[in-house]
Amino acid sequence: MTPAVELRRITKKFGDVVAVDNIDLSIKDGEFFAMLGPSGCGKTTTLRMIAGLEFPTEGSLSIFGEEVGTLAPNKRSVNTVFQNYALFPHLTVLENVGFGLKMQGTDKKETRARAMEMIELVQLNGLESRKPAQMSGGQQQRVALARALVNQPKVLLLDEPLGALDLKLRQEMQLELKKLQRDVGISFVFVTHDQEEALTMADRIAVMHEGKLLQVASPEEIYEQPASKFVADFIGRTNLLEGTVKDKTTVVLENGSLVHAANSLVAGTRVAISLRPERAKIARLSDVSIEGSSLNGVIDTITYLGNARVYGVKLDWMNIEIRQENRPDAELYEHGDQITVYWSTDDVSVVAG
């Protein structure tokens, strides 16, 4: 099947700064695709290149097999939901939604009918003659969606679509966007710096850093098998234990202790073991009989989160974090307690050091 969007060897330079560095990316039709990374990683530039708001310095960009890299934005069948929506403040909701159709020369009657239909779909009936300034953030967001979708784009691009909303509304909109995408059936490509949002909504995630594409995979894979130290650290919380591979399944940590890992490893390489705080377990030093790997340490800090406790554990050479769910049977530890941190081999992933 032809990919909805395909980028091959795409590079974008602004002067001497390389914003996007030779990336290859293929987005399937009908998928909810997230581009995730810290600010300045090139994700927004990539989105803008797909929209046509920037031209790539080099490379091929096609939409459903048709090369569009040098095509103006008004000649591309993709539409964008802008960060902060960019609604036209001097136009009503109806005029905003009908704007794209009007520009394409659709006749007035049809423009109106289709715009009204779209306004209904995003549940803004009755508000069509309001100006954007008279609406809440959530409503503005819906107008922005309607304004883009009414043109029946082949791909919808969303730039930090939920960034301007408060937490509760954001969570509601996450579900709603997901439902909308299923109903419309086209692929949504959205840019976010919020890893939780990406994990919740996306079918697949592309993690970007310093203009490079680090990993493109499903949320599960990104979380469970991060491809690099950066991905492991950026997605969720983790402890990175650095060391050197001794043989196929053993790693020597910096203090000399041995831990196991499932991956086939190449002896002598520098690696880091990513140990998620919620995957490790704690036990008192006295009552240990453990399979898998373990490290001894002392409880240093205790943070109470309501549904869980996070223990800061002091190891010989570094500090790590362990999360303990707040269950009635959980054994509580105090500052200074001598403990053992342990885990089974399946619970950690190994990334290149």
């Binding site: 929209a51 046509g52 708001l53 103006a72 934005p73 008004n74 539409n79 964008t80 802008f82 960060q83 902060n84 960019a86 609604l87 036209f88 403040p89 001097h90 704007f99 794209g100 520009m103 394409q104 304004r147 883009a148 043109n151």
Partner: protein
């Protein structure tokens, strides 16, 4: 700024008194001037019973009426051209990069900060040479008046208009223009349907400022106007130097009214700027 800590005691009183004095200072002269324009007395600063004679005299004087109509003609043409050129300049500086942009930007500031007198001298010498050159080349003899005054007013008004329009453009996110082209608008349509309505209050504000400055200017106009062809302020200035008469009071009030009308219009423009 808003702060819960405000001056108390004598400092508070002093601030209030200063505030009221400033307004008294601003408005007392204007109010008195209007009052005396209706006074029968030949002494400009003395009350001598109500009359409209001075206004009658003003409208009867063909010189005064001619100067007034000259002023209006010039203000209209100057505003039109300055608004078009100034808006284009503002767009180029706020939305594009091009070689020589910095020089252009600096050049655009100069007419605003240069003293009137210097600009007047510059244009006087310039038109002296310019008209000679035109006569030598095209054989047309040109006289100072409508043309030279309009050209001079436009030379400083382009800058004022561009500053006002630029402020408006700077406050308008480029997202809106990008959204328009993303929604299938050509560059021209994006300007026509999005940028232009957005900056319209700024353009209106710039136009009113240009008109005000054109109607107000004395120094530059005096240097570039020809014999028998001049504007109302220069005409009034000439009268004042010959000696004050109540007629000048009346003309002044007419000019005052014109200013006030423009203020009201500019306030309306500003209001829509805020809500737009």
């Amino acid at each position: 700024m808003s702060s819960a800590v405000e001056p108390r005691g004598w400092a508070k009183t002093a601030l209030h008194v200063n505030g009221w004095l400033v307004y008294l200072f601003f408005y007392a002269p204007i109010v008195l001037l209007v009052l005396f324009s209706f006074s029968e007395s030949r002494n400009v600063g003395k009350w001598g019973g109500f009359t409209l004679d001075w206004y009658q005299q003003f409208f009867d004087s063909s010189n005064a009426r001619g100067a007034l109509s000259n002023s209006v003609k010039i203000a209209l043409i100057v505003t039109l051209i300055s608004v078009i050129l100034g808006t284009m300049a503002a767009l180029s500086l706020e939305r594009f990069t091009f070689r020589g942009k910095k020089v252009f930007d600096a050049l655009l500031y100069l007419p605003i900060i240069i003293p009137d007198v210097t600009m007047a001298v510059m244009l006087l010498l310039f038109f002296g040479q310019f008209y000679d050159v035109i006569e030598a080349v095209f054989g047309i003899q040109m006289r100072k008046g409508f043309g030279s005054i309009s050209i001079s007013h436009i030379a400083f008004n382009i800058s004022f208009v561009s500053v006002v329009v630029r402020a408006r453009l700077a406050g308008m996110s480029t997202d809106l223009e990008e959204a328009a082209v993303d929604l299938y608008a050509s560059r021209w349509k994006a300007f026509r349907y999005v940028t232009f309505p957005q900056i319209l209050p700024g353009i209106a504000g710039g136009a009113l400022l240009a008109m005000t400055l054109s109607l107000d200017d004395v120094v530059i106009t005096q240097f570039v106007s020809g014999p028998g062809w001049t504007t109302l302020p220069v005409y009034v200035f000439g009268l004042i130097r010959k000696g004050v008469t109540p007629l000048i009071n009346a003309v002044s009030v007419v000019m005052l009214l014109a200013s006030m009308l423009l203020v009201v219009l500019s306030l309306i423009a500003q209001r829509s700027r805020r809500t737009g």
